[in-house]
Amino acid sequence: MNNRVRELRTGRGWSQGELGSRLGVSRQTVNAIETGKYDPSLPLAFRIARLFEQRIEEIFIPEA
């Protein structure tokens, strides 16, 4: 699963730690999501989408 989390985060000038604090997860979890090594749970994906004011499918893109 590809995602635009890094792009959206850097667009707001947030560090991984800051995004983690806003989402209630660790910096390592944010890093693993951004690098595509970990796909977040549905509740966390919703929190991410709500935080960036986008729909989930606009942030998380399934690999073809």
Binding site: V25, A32, K37, S41
Partner: protein, 132 residues
């Protein structure tokens, strides 16, 4: 979670409680030996029950600490526990086969717990590599 320390996701209070419970268990063993309690005596059995209760306490606070982790750390810990569980079974069963082949027998008591903790640490190291 610190890259160098697989247990960094646990807070100091948790680690202090684990250490205190481990020390209490070892102390109970030493006191039991020092008093020369006979096997099967009421006091010796009481000591054994206290050690088992401490082990239950350790499991309880470990589960409580795991539940406080975020979803990725929780997943890493559970995968490491699964690894430790399976690897411990392999080591103990494997040693059983080797004992039948002539190697010295090992009475797996508290050693099982220590083996599982060591394998848990190894499992953490292995699983964390996947998400780095």
């Amino acid at each position: 979670m610190n890259r160098k320390n697989p247990f960094a996701c646990y807070d100091r209070a948790f680690m202090a409680r684990v250490l205190a419970a481990a020390i209490a268990m070892v102390l109970l063993s030493f006191i039991s030996k020092w008093l020369g309690l006979e096997r099967g005596s009421a006091l010796r059995i009481t000591f054994g029950v206290m050690q088992a209760a401490l082990l239950g306490y350790l499991i309880g606070i470990t589960i409580y600490s795991l539940r406080k982790l975020d979803e990725l750390q929780y997943r890493i810990q559970l995968e490491a526990v699964a690894f430790a569980f399976a690897a411990s079974a392999i080591v103990i069963a494997g040693w059983g086969f080797m004992t039948k082949a002539g190697l010295p027998a090992v009475q797996w008591g508290p050693e099982t717990w220590m083996l599982m903790v060591l394998l848990w640490a190894l499992g953490l190291w292995l699983v964390r590599r996947r998400y780095q």
